[in-house]
Symmetry: C2
Subunit: 191 residues, 2 copies
Amino acid sequence: MGRWEPEARERLMVAALDLFGEQGYENTGVAQIAERAGLTKSTFFRHFRDKREVLFGGQDELVSLIAAGIEGTPASAGALKAVERALVAIGVTFTDSRRANGPRRLAVIAANAELRERDALKMAGFSGVIKDGLLLRGVPEIEAAVVAELGVLALRIAYGRWLEAGGDFADVARPALEEVAAAAAALEGAE
Amino acid sequence: MGRWEPEARERLMVAALDLFGEQGYENTGVAQIAERAGLTKSTFFRHFRDKREVLFGGQDELVSLIAAGIEGTPASAGALKAVERALVAIGVTFTDSRRANGPRRLAVIAANAELRERDALKMAGFSGVIKDGLLLRGVPEIEAAVVAELGVLALRIAYGRWLEAGGDFADVARPALEEVAAAAAALEGAE
DNA sequence: ACGGTTGATGAGACCAAGTCCCATCACTCT
DNA sequence: AGAGTGATGGGACTTGGTCTCATCAACCGT
């Protein structure tokens, strides 16, 4: 059965999310996920490097979009503007179907330390691309690191709001970044 | 042999770092680490929840110190000042022996995705305690998140400099936080 | 000195994640 | 039809991680 059925990857992701939600991430075996998708363990690991990645697919695409968004920003613009363009750029991947699964996905990740690890690394990856992109534009080291962290924070905030409210991701990303930047600029000195 | 020898945990950490450096993290088995320490696999997992944690011990202590550092800051002080106190507070754990192993440890972590994941989660954990501590002080949500991220960034920067230069951790942590805060305050708007 | 208790360890069975290798089947092209 | 291609099935194998039970040294009270 199921052999050569299209979208094996999609089927695996759906099956995994369903099972994780029903019985928890740790109580769900890879073989079980594959079975529900009409496939086998071998095929699962052909599509995903490990069990976690079935929940974190598409990161490479986001990284590319972020890098492109920064690189495509006029050299005259500031670092924050470049990050804003990056956040807007990734909006194209935030589709309705992703939004539908978002809350379940977040709940599963929040309930498991192994998945939180992967999520943290994913965010660190975003931060890294942003920082590297800014360094290429000549932004000083510390400023690049600061803006990268603030950008990722804005991304997380915007993602949460987008899951709740829907609509165009850019419409939540821009205000989120502005709020974060405003909070940063308003800080009093530490001495 | 080696039964009841003191500091089994220490011996395991040293053996692990040695073996990871010699032959890589992935080519080193838990049984091998335990053997070099004169112990067994069972005992290894009694001291560390998993293979990675042998490189990340002491996080709980840091988290406690951070929380205490923030809580012990006068309510009149700003968020940045509380974070500064937290960074100074963790300085007591940065001993000479830790500094001696630091570079090797960083190299091993950098070379392995699994370990980078754990490291990223560790940093996210720090960020979380800081943020929670600031929220308890009445700092607004966004500002707390911003300052927490900046604090962790300063922590990473300070740790790198401390590994190079040595001395009192507080003497590198304070300037690092000031630089980060200054870079954040100097940002131009995103519009 | 003796026996019981405690606490860390040893030993081994066991499960699941992840790797490898090879056979198989559907589809395509010539 | 026959060969090639690419995704899949299947099973052996390694290793991280869990669990249970036995063991042994130190301590403690009588």
